[in-house]
């Protein structure tokens, strides 16, 4: 009998504590602050618009552009085949299959780099891989792809090659040298297969 009393003296207070505190439902961050600093410093999450443009033009099925601006801004203008996940909806479970998977390469973009980079940091800290950020955001995209600056006549040849590529890309993408044409480049989407969600994080299989 005295063991029961001892057990009760331990279990009941612990039970009261656990009944009183709120449940811990926060998702754990997988990376420590220091690891995060190291990753941010290398800046390897940034992808240059040229690389993205080349992938869009070649209809690379691995590319998944994700517009992290608001829905209004997305509706006004977005890159071809981009999907819209505003920052506020980032942790919506419906989006987990898109941002946490190992098949496609996600590239976040916003107007500048900052918002997209914030999104990337959150996903990275949650331990998600395969996420990148469009360097300079849409502003830089327009500067480089939609309205490429003609190189000076004295520039080296590869500058001209780059310019030709950008002009070609901007035409192929329907940018046509205009700044953010309203609702241009509707998503064609045919070449890009739907995201195949990676199997859910393997919970351990059943016991007995």
């Amino acid at each position: 009998m005295k063991y029961i009393i001892k057990l009760a003296m331990v279990m009941i207070p612990l039970g009261l504590i656990i009944a009183a505190v709120p449940e811990n439902t926060t998702k754990q961050y997988k990376l420590t602050a220091q690891e995060m600093i190291n990753e941010v410093q290398t800046g390897q999450q940034f992808v240059h618009p040229d690389a993205i443009a080349a992938q869009i033009v070649s209809n690379d099925p691995e590319l998944q552009l994700i517009d992290v601006r608001s829905k209004d801004e997305y509706d006004k203008f977005h890159l071809p085949n981009a999907i819209n996940i505003p920052l506020a909806n980032l942790l919506n479970p419906d989006n987990a299959d898109v941002i946490d998977q190992g098949i496609k390469t996600n590239v976040f973009y916003s107007n500048g780099s900052t918002r997209a980079n914030e999104v990337w940091m959150i996903t990275r800290q949650l331990g998600y891989k395969n996420n990148y950020v469009l360097l300079g955001g849409l502003n830089f995209w327009i500067e480089t792809i939609s309205n490429p600056e003609k190189p000076r006549i004295t520039s080296p040849d590869d500058e001209f090659a780059k310019y030709d590529f950008r002009m070609g890309a901007s035409q192929a993408l329907g940018g046509g040298g205009q700044v953010a044409p309203a609702a241009s480049a509707p998503s064609s989407g045919s070449a890009i297969p739907a995201v195949t969600p990676k199997p859910k994080k393997k919970r351990a299989a059943g016991g007995c």
């Binding site: 279990m11 039970g15 656990i18 351990a204």
Partner: protein, 196 residues
């Protein structure tokens, strides 16, 4: 952090090694508590020895509290811990069949291995029976597949069904368990047996 293997913190080989170590702990505790004796186990159902009840429920509430506190401290992600799915029909029918097996055979699978390890031959017979039972289930699977998969409720937990938080349910379970322990102690005094 936890569960270690789901979060890929430890390699597969180490996981299997830890399975072995955890098994040793499991076997050691079962044997030390007397679960290697079928008559001690069966005593539960005649009231002369309620060790099974005490060990079983103490273990359940200890592990439950541990998991809840680990979760509270952020040491384990409970959403990644396996929660046994609930198939209501098969849980009831299977449970009833297991209950019959328990009272006739005197062991459950875990305790029979434990009893075999110290040389109980009836446990060896029981394990032989287990193999036959599993084999019968496997061979006749189409016959009971419908029942096996009927009433799939997903993996609900008791607290969601009752509409309380996990912590509140845990507290209630602790109270219930302690009350059962008191009944168990009373029963052991009421139906004593010296030798078994």
């Amino acid at each position: 952090m936890g569960p270690l293997i789901v979060n890929e913190i430890i390699p597969e080989g180490l996981n299997l090694f830890l399975a072995f170590v955890i098994g040793i702990g499991f076997g050691f505790v079962l044997e030390s508590s007397g679960f290697s004796s079928s008559r001690k186990l069966a005593g539960m159902f005649y009231g002369y020895d309620t060790t099974v009840l005490k060990v079983f429920f103490t273990a359940a509430i200890t592990a439950m509290l541990g998991l809840l506190f680990f979760s509270l401290f952020g040491w384990i992600d409970l959403s990644l811990v396996y929660i046994n799915p609930t198939f209501m029909t098969s849980a009831i029918v299977g449970g009833a069949i297991m209950g019959a097996g328990f009272i006739l055979g005197g062991y459950c699978p875990g305790t029979s291995f434990c009893a075999l390890s110290i040389g109980k031959l009836d446990a060896l017979a029981f394990i032989g029976g287990l193999f036959i039972g599993v084999f019968i289930f496997a061979e006749g699977y189409p016959l009971w597949e419908t029942m096996y998969k009927a009433n799939n409720m997903g993996a609900p937990t008791m607290n969601t069904i009752l509409g309380v938080s996990r912590g509140v349910f845990a507290f209630l379970l602790i109270i219930v368990a302690l009350a059962m322990f008191v009944v168990g102690e009373w029963s052991e005094k009421k139906f004593p047996r010296d030798e078994y």
